[in-house]
Symmetry: C2
Subunit: 434 residues, 2 copies
C-alpha cells in the first residue's frame, strides 16, 4: 500500500497537536490505515518556538507554497486560522488537486460556499472535523451517523470559554468580570475574549453544523447572535429558583422552508442533559426524526483534542485514497449542496418562553403596570418571583412567560423601558429545552 | 449514478424501522447518497402482521434465500437476531460477495471473528452501527471519529431496560421487582427480562466496542458479568448519601497487553456526566489519549432509533459503492484485526474502590470485627455510615473503601460471611468514575 504524504501549514497550537498525535500514535494509525501517514512538510513563519516535539528540522519551512506546490503531497492541512491568507492557500491547494483538511471555522462559516464549490469542481475531499467541537466527532455524526434523519433541532454549547465563565458564575457566584479574569489567567480565554463571549465563535460553528444538517451553506451574517457579558449572578440565581441554568446556546430548528438559527444566552431546565455540560466542555444536542435525541460531549478546544480531530480526517482520507477514491461525498454531504443556500428566519419571528427581570421602585402597582404592558402585547405570564430585598434601591421583579413571539417581546420591552416605576433596563433571557 | 439494491431479512421491530426510514426520508437520502437506495426484497416468516407501513406486497417473501441468492442485490441486511440461522445467512451472503449490514450484537460478540474473517476474505464491507447503542453512532465514532487515539477507557450504559429499572428504583424508591413489572408493562422489557438485567446484552455490546477500540475480537466468555437483580432501594439510598448513583456499567480499560473488560452494577459519582443518563437512554463515555473525555448519548433501542442506525450504514455503503469501492477498512477498522485476539484480564485482578453493606446484629464490637477482617486483607476504609435503625432485626453498616484488589475483597467476603454478628450475606458494589 502506498504511503500518504501530508503537508501542514500552521505550526501553532492545533498544528503541534496534529504533529504530536501523528508521531505518538504512528504505529496505531498505520495499523488503522493500512499504510503510513507521513508528515512531508510543516510550514510556519515561526520556526524557533519550542513545541515540545522531536521533529526533523529539515521538514520545516517558512513557505506555505513549498507544501501547496509540492506534487508529492496528497493532503494539505490548513491550521493558520484567519480568513484571507487561509482562503488563498486552501483554494490554491484545491486547484492543485490536493485534498484539504482544515480547522478554520471562521473561514468555512463566512466563505464556505466558495471553498465547497472549488472542492466539488476539482473533485477533491475537504475535511473539517476540527472546525466544530474540538475533538468531538460531530461533523462525522452529521455527515454519516445521522444521515438517515431529517435533523429537526440542534442545540450546542460550542464555546468552551463562555461555558467556563458561566459555570464559574453559577457554581461560585462570581461576577462576569471576575469569571473572565479567571478564565484569562487559566489560559481558557484570550485577553480580551471578544469573539468567544459575544457569540461569534459559536455562530461560526453553528453555521457549519446547519450547513451539513440542512444541506447547503447559510448566510452567516443572518445568524442572530448575542453574548454573555450582560448576564449577572443574580439572574443565574433566579434561573435556579425557576429550575433552570444559564448556557450560551447555539440553536437551530428546521422550519421546512427555512431555519431558525441563533446564538444567545438561554435558560435551560436543570434536568436537561445539556444542563450538566460544565467548564470548558462542549456538547451538541441534536434531534432527528428517527434517531430522537442525541448528545455528543467532549473537549471543544485544546492542542490534543483538536489534533485528534485533524488526524481523524487524515485517517479517513488516507483510507479512501488507499482505495483510489478522491471523494466519497460532497463537503456538506448533500448532492449539489454547495449551489444552494439555507434561508434563516429573522429573530423577530422566533417564539420561546422568556425570562424578564425588572428593576422596580418599591411601591404599589408596579406589577400591575408591568403585567398590563405584557398582556397588551399578548405575552402571557407563567410564573412570578417578587422578593422584598432591595438591590441598589430597586426591587427585582422576575417573570417567566409562556411562549411568546420575539417581535411582541421587543415591542413590550420598549414600552416597559418608558415606565417611571422601572429604574433600569429590563433583563430579557430566552428559555430553551422545555 | 447507479441505484443501490437492498434486501432486508427480518421484518420485525428493527426491520420495520429500517423500511420506514428508507421510505419516509427517501428524497433526503437520495440527496445525501447521490442515487436511490431501493428496497428490492424483504423476507420474513410472518407476512401478515401490520407494521403500519405502505409497502409493495410483491417485495415480501418468506424465503431469505430469495435475497441472499439474488444477483441484483448489493447489500443484505440481517435483522432476524439469534445466532445460528443469522450466522448462516450472513456467511452465505458474504460468500456471494454481498455487503452485509446487521444489528445482531449477540452474533458479533460470540462469533464475530468468523464473520470478520469471511468479510475480509471476500473483500466485502460489514456494517453494524445498530448493534451497539441503537441510534447513537458510536461504532462510527470508534472506527473513524476517534481513530487518532489510543482508547484508554470505555464506560457504557448499554442496556436501556436495566437503566430504566435503576432509574425508577432511584427516583421513585421502587423495589427491583416493582420496577421490572413497570418496565414490562410499558414495553421497555421483555417478560422475563433475563438477558437485559443479567448483564449479557451489555456484555455483547461491550465486546463489540472493545474489538474495535483495541483492534481485535475478544473472547466474549471471558468478560465478567453481573446483573442488577440483587440491588435494593436501600443501597441506592446509601449510595446517594455517599454522593453516588447506581448504574449497570460496561467497562473496558486498556492495560497495554490486555484489557480489563466487565459488566456489573457500579456506583458512579453524582457529578459524573454518566450519572445524568436516565430512563431508557444509553450513553457511551470514552477516554482517548488525545481527545480526552467524550460522551455519546441517545436512545439505545426502539424501532425508529435502530432503523436510523441501519440506514446510516446503508447510506455509508451506498456512497462507497457509487465510487466503485467494496471496502474502505476491515470490519474492526484495524489491518488483520480479525486474525488477532484481545486478552481479557481476570476479574480477580481488578482494583476499584468498593461499597459494602453489612447486615449486623445490634451489639457492640461488630464494626471492630468487620474492619479487622478488611484490614487483614489489605482493604482500607475510606468512609463508614452506621445508623441506629433496624431493618428486619439487623442494623445496616455501610463502608466505602479505598481502592482494593478484587481477589482480596473476595477473600474478605468469604471470611465475613462466617461471622456470627452478620445476619445476611454482605452486599458488595464496585465504585467507578472517581
Amino acid at each position: 500500500m502506498r504511503q500518504i504524504n501530508v503537508g501542514i501549514i500552521g505550526f501553532g497550537t492545533v498544528g503541534a497537536g496534529t504533529v504530536e498525535a501523528l508521531l505518538a500514535n504512528r504505529d496505531l494509525i498505520a495499523d488503522r490505515v493500512g499504510s503510513e501517514i507521513v508528515i512531508k512538510r510543516v510550514a510556519d513563519l515561526d520556526l524557533l518556538s519550542d513545541r515540545g516535539l522531536t521533529i526533523d528540522q529539515g521538514l520545516l519551512t517558512t513557505e506555505a507554497m513549498d507544501i501547496i506546490e509540492d506534487p508529492d503531497i496528497h493532503i494539505v492541512v490548513e491550521l493558520i486560522g484567519g480568513i484571507e491568507q487561509a482562503k488563498q492557500y486552501i483554494l490554491r491547494a484545491i486547484e492543485n488537486k490536493k485534498h484539504v483538511v482544515t480547522a478554520n471555522k471562521a473561514l468555512l462559516a463566512e466563505h464556505g460556499k466558495e471553498i465547497y464549490q472549488a472542492a466539488e469542481e476539482n473533485g477533491v475531499s475537504l475535511g473539517f472535523e476540527a472546525s466544530v467541537g474540538g475533538g468531538i466527532p460531530v461533523i462525522r455524526a452529521l455527515r454519516e451517523g445521522l444521515s438517515a434523519n431529517r435533523i429537526d433541532t440542534i442545540m450546542g454549547i460550542l464555546n468552551g470559554t463562555s461555558n467556563y465563565i458561566l459555570t464559574r458564575m453559577t457554581k461560585k457566584g462570581l461576577a462576569y468580570r471576575e469569571a473572565v479574569d479567571e478564565a484569562i489567567e487559566r489560559g481558557y480565554a484570550e485577553d480580551p475574549p471578544t469573539l468567544d463571549v459575544d457569540g461569534t465563535d459559536a455562530a461560526h460553528k453553528l453555521a457549519i453544523l446547519v450547513s451539513i444538517a440542512f444541506g447547503a451553506p447559510v448566510a452567516f451574517d443572518r445568524i442572530y447572535r448575542e453574548g454573555i457579558d450582560r448576564l449577572t449572578p443574580e439572574d443565574i440565581r433566579f434561573a435556579g429558583e425557576f429550575g433552570f441554568c444559564l448556557k450560551l446556546l447555539a440553536i437551530a430548528r428546521n422550519l421546512g422552508d427555512k431555519v431558525d438559527a441563533r446564538v444567545h444566552p438561554a435558560m435551560v431546565p436543570l434536568d436537561h442533559i445539556m444542563a450538566n455540560v460544565n467548564g470548558v466542555y462542549n456538547a451538541i444536542y441534536m434531534e432527528g426524526d428517527f434517531v430522537g435525541s442525541n448528545l455528543y460531549y467532549g473537549l471543544g478546544a485544546g492542542r490534543r483534542a483538536t489534533g485528534s480531530a485533524v488526524v481523524s480526517d487524515l485517517i479517513h482520507l488516507a483510507r479512501q485514497l488507499q482505495q483510489g477514491v478522491d471523494r466519497l461525498m460532497p463537503p456538506l454531504a448533500h448532492v449539489h449542496s454547495e449551489q444552494r443556500q439555507v434561508a434563516i428566519q429573522p429573530i423577530e419571528d422566533v417564539s420561546t418562553p422568556y425570562y424578564f427581570r425588572f428593576s422596580a421602585v418599591d411601591q404599589p402597582g408596579v406589577l400591575s403596570k408591568v403585567s398590563g404592558i405584557l398582556g397588551e402585547n399578548n405575552i402571557s405570564i407563567y410564573s412570578v418571583i417578587q422578593k422584598g430585598r432591595e438591590i441598589d434601591g430597586s426591587v427585582p421583579v422576575v417573570i417567566l412567560t409562556h411562549e411568546a413571539k420575539e417581535s411582541s417581546v421587543l415591542k413590550a420591552l420598549s414600552q416597559l423601558d418608558q415606565l417611571d416605576v422601572l429604574t433600569d433596563k429590563t433583563m430579557m433571557i430566552r428559555v430553551e429545552g422545555t
